[in-house]
């Protein structure tokens, strides 16, 4: 796992650690899910840059060309 996905993150409001959890995304009428760190109390999420610029960007591009 790369550095920032392994980063230990604390929810500022709930003071608990974010845990990977299945999360849904939407784009151009399609829906996806993947595991991302989430606050088990309030649901605050974190999307690491690697995911945004990597897999997510790839899927975005595929859908745009579809």
């Amino acid at each position: 796992m790369s550095e920032s996905t392994a980063r230990k993150l604390i929810c500022y409001r709930c003071k608990v650690e974010l845990q990977p959890e299945k999360t849904y995304f939407q784009y151009l009428g399609h829906s996806f899910f993947t595991d991302i760190p989430k606050c088990p109390v309030c649901g605050l999420v974190y999307i690491p840059e690697e995911l945004a610029r990597g897999r997510m960007a790839e899927v975005e591009q595929e859908l745009e060309d579809k």
């Binding site: 500022y12 999420v45 974190y46 840059e49 997510m56 975005e60 745009e64 060309d65």
Partner: protein, 738 residues
């Protein structure tokens, strides 16, 4: 859309070259040449043999009408097709014909005359396994060839090409009455002087069932007719219909002879060596209309002609019209620069760009165009026309205006002084000049957003009426063209023409900038007057124009394609920047900033005219392109400066910026991904106000916010006096849903 399919019928892409049309055989010269250019003599020979039947004879005796038709002779000399054909014959490793194992057809054809035409007809018919009887009144075959070639040349060729075929030859057998023949069809190939048995007219089907006439003044014509008539005879034997052979093709092809590079043949005497043949083949232009593919970046990038584009766009807009899932052209549609080059270079005036714009509109109306392709620029338009930037004022309160200066949104975004100095000048020559800042609506046009375009235009129209219908002065050709198209009632001038006409004398400074290349923006194509004015002013500023691009071209900005298709955009910019080694002189703010952004030294004409960005010589050419955030800041600043300097008013401080520090690297990254500082600030404000953020052990904060449809993420640290931005990125997907 339908209309474009209609106009495509005028496309010359599929037109044959001049030589092929002049050739009695309709030889596919482009194909032959391609094979020879590869040094493939065998395959060149095969093609030639299939087309002409007796290659060794035709290569010698053809009277070469192709040479008279060849466009190359407009420049130097026609391509030596005859010699190339001879080379194909000479260097083919295996000259034997193909052998066909077909069942006998059981039909009999009588051919009268065993000259080249009769034998050619026999060659095709026997290869298809018809029974052929040749009647020859003399004691030898070959007819007129005896006067033209050595007997071993043509007799050996007849033997070779007919080696696998069987036919009956009756020498010394003169036919005087066709009724004496028993045959399913008769071909009369008795030569120009021969007996026509009472039939008159050209080669073809006679008025009597089953009787066909040969013809041709020249031996090559006779052979070509024989080959063609074999097909007509076969069709008759199969269907009983007496059809005429297809008329020879003509071409509508248009080629610009002036553009042909000078390249006379290396040798004209004697046979060609293999190398010489390859070289000679290299002189052929393989005439085909490809003006659009050659000049349009988009078509070149995708390697697609207008016909192909039309098909792909059609299935993209109407998926399900064809099998498969092919909505393939979305990105292609969104990548057109709308530079009009395709229309301008096409000899038929086919406007692929207009078709793509219309397609963009259809996709937009259906909601089928991915929103990110244009979202950023639509938000930018909104910003330019919002309270922070837009300003419409007559020079003096309440007064009517004779002119209004419409600098366009990008000019002030590049450098606010471009606008303030120009306005100051305009007031000096025409005190009744109003100022009108904002965006002309180009982003809406390019996004295919008709409603937004209409409302933008209407707004402009209303404000223009309020100003008392003044004449527009533009600094940007794109704005001018949008006005011309959608606000034709507004009379207009280009700033540079006004300056030139008023005899503006720019300060003559820095010698380092003495040699420049002018880069005329696309869309200025139809304006030689503007081109001239720009050149006069440039030279008055002490610069010498040492280089010119051949056509006004798009710098890459047009259509705002950089988000929809970054690699394509990068390629266009690279190509443009490389057209001259000299620094560019531009008179479009977009061109200036696109080139500067790519590291190409580029001046705006106004840099010279008002001695801006010039104080340290070449540095102006390297003036960094403003980032997207700086461009916005410049536009805000412009409004403030205009109000302050020309109207003695202080702009109300509407903005409320966060104290934010960031490294140059981070700033560069934001620019690359077109993330605005304002958006970053909005995310931080949101995180700080709501507490919706995560922290790592070092206290670095992470948070996000969806603004419009885009989701932005930031990593930042609160500091004593504000915030320090460490990272920012964005994605197009939105969170949530199932």
């Amino acid at each position: 859309m339908r209309d474009f399919k209609e106009t495509l019928k005028n496309c010359l892409r599929e037109e044959p070259p001049f030589c092929s049309c002049a050739c009695p055989f309709g030889l596919d010269v482009r194909d032959l040449i391609s094979r020879l250019q590869r040094g493939s003599f065998n395959s060149a020979y095969r093609l030639f043999q299939n087309t002409v039947g007796f290659p060794a004879i035709v290569a010698q005796v053809c009277h070469r009408p192709c040479a008279a038709a060849c466009i190359r002779k407009e420049k130097d000399e026609a391509v030596l097709l005859g010699k190339l054909e001879q080379a194909a014959v000479a260097y083919a490793a295996n000259r034997r014909p193909n052998q066909y194992q077909l069942p006998a057809k059981g039909k009999k054809i009588a051919i009268i005359g065993a000259g080249p035409g009769g034998l050619a007809c026999a060659l095709r018919l026997t290869a298809r396994k018809y029974e052929v009887v040749l009647y020859e009144k003399t004691n030898r075959i070959g007819g007129c060839l005896w006067d033209l070639l050595l007997p071993e040349q043509f007799l050996a060729e007849f033997e070779l090409q007919l080696m696998y075929e069987r036919y009956e030859l009756k020498l010394n057998c003169e036919i005087n009455d066709l009724a004496t023949l028993t045959a399913d069809a008769i071909y009369i190939a008795t030569g120009p002087e021969g007996n026509r048995f009472g039939f008159c007219g050209a080669a073809g089907a006679s008025r009597q069932d089953g009787i066909f006439l040969g013809g041709g003044e020249q031996p090559a014509d006779a052979i070509a007719t024989g080959l063609r008539m074999a097909g007509v005879i076969e069709a008759y034997l199969k269907t009983g219909l007496m059809r005429q052979p297809e008329t020879r093709k003509t071409t509508r092809l248009v080629m610009d002879a002036a553009a042909i590079p000078f390249a006379p043949p290396a040798v004209t005497d004697g046979p060609l060596t293999r190398d010489q043949a390859v070289q000679e083949a290299g002189r052929c232009l393989k005439c085909q209309c490809d003006a659009c593919l050659k000049h349009c970046d988009l078509m070149r990038y995708y390697g697609k002609s207008p016909g192909r584009i039309e098909e792909e766009v059609e299935v993209t807009i109407h998926p399900g019209t064809l099998d498969g899932n092919g909505t393939v052209a979305t990105r292609l549609i969104a990548s057109c620069n709308h530079c009009d080059v395709c229309k301008n270079v096409c000899p038929q005036g086919i406007d692929t760009g207009a078709f793509l714009l219309q397609s963009q509109r259809s996709m937009q109306e259906k909601g089928a165009m991915p929103w990110p392709f244009h979202d950023f620029w639509l938000r930018d338009l909104e910003f330019s026309n919002g309270a922070d930037c837009a300003l419409v004022r007559p020079a003096a309160p309440g007064e009517r205006s004779s002119y209004f200066f419409f600098p366009g949104c990008r000019l002030g975004g590049s450098d606010p002084r471009y606008v303030t100095e120009s306005y100051r000048y305009l007031l000096s020559v025409e005190p009744e000049t109003a100022i009108f800042t904002g965006c002309c609506g180009a982003p809406a046009l390019w996004a295919g957003d008709q409603a937004l375009l209409q409302s933008t235009i209407e707004q402009i129209r209303r404000q223009w009426l309020d100003l008392g219908r003044p004449i527009a002065v533009f600094a940007c050709v794109s704005c001018r063209n949008i006005f011309r198209q959608f606000l034709p009632e507004i009379e207009s001038r280009m700033l540079y023409q006004v300056m030139e006409q008023h005899g503006f004398q720019p300060p003559v400074t820095a010698a380092e900038t003495a040699r420049l290349a002018v880069f005329d923006p696309c869309q200025s194509e139809d304006d030689p007057e503007l081109h001239r004015a720009v050149r006069v002013l440039t030279e008055k500023a002490g610069c010498r124009i040492a280089d010119e691009a051949e056509l006004p071209l798009c710098c890459g900005w047009g259509g705002q394609v950089s988000i929809a298709n970054p690699p394509y955009f990068a390629q266009v910019v690279r190509d443009r920047a490389a057209r001259s080694e000299l620094p560019y002189l531009t008179y479009c703010a977009n061109c200036r900033d696109v080139f500067a952004g790519a590291g190409k030294p580029a001046y705006h004409l106004l840099d010279l005219l008002f001695a801006l960005n010039r104080h340290t010589g070449r540095e102006a050419a390297y003036r960094r392109a403003p980032t997207a955030s700086e461009s916005r800041q410049n536009r805000r600043l412009l409004k403030k400066t205009l109000l302050h300097e020309f109207f003695k008013e202080e702009a109300p401080m509407s903005e409320n910026r966060l104290p934010l520090r960031l490294s140059p690297q981070t700033a560069e990254k934001l620019q690359r991904d077109l993330i605005l500082l304002e958006d970053v600030e909005a995310v931080i404000r949101h995180c700080e106000a709501s507490g919706e953020k995560a922290l790592d052990e070092s206290g670095l904060c992470f948070g996000h916010l969806q603004i419009g449809q885009m989701t932005f993420w930031v990593a930042y640290r609160p500091t004593a006096d504000g915030f320090c931005l460490e990272n920012a990125y964005c994605h197009r997907m939105s969170l949530g849903g199932e």
